[in-house]
């Protein structure tokens, strides 16, 4: 957005500088790499399903037998115990074993479930950020009663027990579907948890954005734009919005992580993703029932969630340090760790 505004004399714009600062943060770069790997992992789901596991995420194998060398192994024993991890012994089939007495391939489910978890995390973060930016801009720019209405609404949402009300809305939509005006969503759709998560995480971004808009609206460049005859829309979206870009990027990244945790909690309890879809959260609740015999079934999806969330949080913090170097310098100067250098940035 701001890239085109680089002066002809400037060799490096603020974005390129920020990018270089980010690259110097080895930890953040490493975890960005991890996040990319996780994305590639879930994107490869159809490849693995078709060519290695030769089954789909919801295909059951209740009576099937695996031939490993001379040995014959049942995918599900007559007592209903699923097979454990086979790694590559069965040519990659049932790599992580079967998920339950239904005998579905855990690895395939992990990859497809990850798609659902990441999709919900990213899409709800997009919606949350969009809502938050629009509300924050309106409240911070117009102030007065607009700010009072938006601010109060966000305060109320903020003060609610989000998980509890999220569960209530989630289960209500999961049972009945949604119908508000022209929007109709069937009951089993993954758009239901997306809506729940987007609504309830909006205040966490909208409030800081509103604060920043309040400060920016006082700046001379806004006054100059108004003096040139710019209307409210142009001031909000043309002048103020570009200055929010770094805040938005950081919050968006961190929000994906939060929303994925929210989704996992909802799905774990059965108020999020509904069958036949599954996500890492639903996989944990299925696996948890077999914790003593097949502990990996509950632990592996949990590890995937943790790695993804950790990666996004560290990348988000790295972005914050890169995009707003002052915040870090200030903190460290306070702690007496480094002398504030380049404080004039």
């Amino acid at each position: 957005m701001a890239r085109s505004e680089e002066g002809p004399g400037a060799e490096r714009g603020p974005w390129s500088l920020a990018f270089r600062r980010f690259l110097r943060n080895r930890l953040a770069v490493a975890f960005l790499g991890l996040f990319v790997l996780i994305v590639l992992f879930v994107l490869a789901a159809p490849l693995w399903a078709d060519h290695v596991a030769e089954t789909g995420p919801n295909q059951t194998h209740t009576v099937e037998k695996l031939h490993v060398g001379d040995e014959v192994r049942e995918v599900v024993t007559p007592e209903g115990k699923p097979i454990g991890p086979q790694w590559f012994e069965a040519g990659g089939r049932f790599f992580l074993g079967a998920d339950s007495r239904l005998g579905r391939d855990e690895m395939v489910r992990l990859m497809y479930g990850g798609r659902v978890s990441l999709f919900i995390g990213v899409v709800s973060a997009l919606i949350t950020t969009f809502l938050a930016v629009v509300l924050g801009l309106l409240a911070g720019y117009y102030r007065g009663w607009v700010d009072a209405v938006i601010g109060r609404t966000l305060d109320v949402l903020w003060s609610l027990p989000v998980l509890l009300i999220g569960i209530a809305l989630g289960i209500s939509l999961a049972v009945g579907g949604l119908k508000v005006g022209p929007i109709a969503i069937p009951s089993g759709s993954i758009w239901n948890p997306i809506i729940v998560i987007s609504i309830f995480s909006t205040p966490y971004i909208a409030r800081p954005i509103r604060g920043e808009v309040l400060a920016l609206a006082e700046k001379e460049f806004v006054e100059a734009a108004i003096a040139q005859g710019a209307g409210p829309l142009r001031v909000m979206f043309g002048e103020i919005l570009p200055n929010l870009a770094s805040t938005i990027i950081v919050f968006f990244t961190l929000n994906i992580a939060n929303n994925m945790l929210f989704e996992a909690a909802l799905s774990f309890l059965g108020a999020g993703v509904q069958p036949p879809n599954s996500s890492w959260g639903t996989m944990i609740s299925v696996g948890e029932e077999l914790l003593t015999t097949q502990p990996l079934l509950a632990i592996i999806p949990g590890v995937m969630i943790m790695l993804t969330v950790l990666a996004l949080n560290i990348v988000g913090d790295g972005l914050r340090d890169a995009l707003d170097p002052r915040s870090k310098v200030r903190l460290e100067a306070r702690a007496g760790m480094v002398e504030p250098e380049g404080a004039a940035v």
């Binding site: 109320v156 209530a168 289960i171 209500s172 119908k179 914790l291 949990g302 306070r334 007496g336």
Partner: protein, 319 residues
């Protein structure tokens, strides 16, 4: 002070009203299917659906439906329909377990959070700070639904140190109560321990730059006295507010997952059971009571905060 309390109480009443309307909308208006059908449950007979429809007045106007619902919830008439059980009774049965879990976890996270945060701050930049920062970040990053299965598998099954889930009342057998709750407490507390230690650390680093800290040093107080009496004390006020808010949110939210994972028959377990059976009345009751509880706690915290820090109430009055 009185003016602040009155303002805050009026604000609370408003929020409570908004919450009740929100819950009403969530259950009875937004979803795209007949509300009586949803309330009745999965395998309801048409006769039951019909009687629920009349009982709840679903053919009347929305404000009347709202009034009926609130009356049902707050006079204890809320019933789950398959089988018919009063929701209130089940919630009351669950409260001791939920409180045991949440209060214990709260004490643990406050104690360890402050301990780690304090040592992290007074050694800011040193190796201890780095180690504690790592511990805190690890704690923040482990989701409850990973930590609990790992702890349960290794500490109750592989090595049988703790009992595998369940709950024993404090009055029945205090020792069993304790051993059953240790793992759930830590599971619930770990995230907040990490978070609180970070918050206290950064608060203390802020306070260390204040003039009165320099004054305290200049007048010859020992470093320890400066840290505990001046820096730590002044860093605690925001932590106390935060604790109030988080504690409310824990009881009415995060504790649900921990209760399910450890089979603790609390209010959250009841709600989760209702979700699994797709029974809406219990969820309605738990949500409303839970939300009211949280709003109430938040109000108390604000008032306590204003009492502790006069700047807050003066700021409010000046606005």
């Amino acid at each position: 002070m009185l003016r602040f309390v009155v303002r805050r109480l009026v604000g609370m009443a408003f929020v409570l009203f908004v919450v009740s309307v929100l819950v009403f909308l969530i259950f009875n208006v937004i979803p795209n299917s007949p509300p009586a059908q949803r309330l009745a449950g999965k395998n309801a007979t048409p006769v039951l659906v019909k009687s629920i429809e009349e009982e709840w007045g679903f053919d009347e106007s929305l404000p009347e439906q709202y009034a009926t619902m609130m009356k049902k919830v707050f006079t204890g008439e809320l019933i789950s329909y398959s089988p018919r059980t009063p929701v209130d009774d089940r919630i009351k049965e669950g409260i001791p377990a939920t409180l045991s879990l949440s209060i214990g976890a709260g004490i643990i996270w406050l104690f360890f959070g402050l301990l780690l945060g304090y040592f992290s701050a007074i050694r800011a930049g040193g190796w201890l700070d780095r180690v504690l920062t790592g511990v805190a970040i690890a704690g923040i990053s482990i989701p409850v639904f990973l930590l609990a299965p790992v702890l349960i598998y290794f500490l109750t099954y592989k090595v049988e140190i703790f009992p595998n889930g369940g709950y024993v009342g404090l009055t029945e057998d205090p020792w069993e109560w304790l051993t059953h709750l240790i793992l759930p407490w830590f599971t619930l507390a770990v995230l907040s321990i990490g978070f609180y230690s970070r918050v206290l650390r950064s608060n203390m680093l802020d306070v260390m730059n204040e003039d009165y800290v320099r004054t305290a040093r200049a007048k010859g107080l020992s470093e320890r006295q400066v840290m505990t009496r001046h820096v730590l004390r002044n860093s605690l006020i925001p932590i106390i507010t935060l604790f109030g808010l988080d504690f409310g949110a824990t009881i009415a939210g995060t504790a649900i997952i921990t209760e399910v994972l450890y089979d603790i028959p609390g209010v959250g377990y009841y709600a989760a059971e209702a979700i699994a059976k797709v029974e809406l009345p219990p969820i309605m009751g738990v949500t409303l009571y839970g939300a009211f509880f949280v709003v109430f706690v938040n109000g108390l915290v604000d008032i306590a905060y204003a009492y502790l820090d006069p700047r807050v109430r003066l700021g409010e009055a000046a606005r």
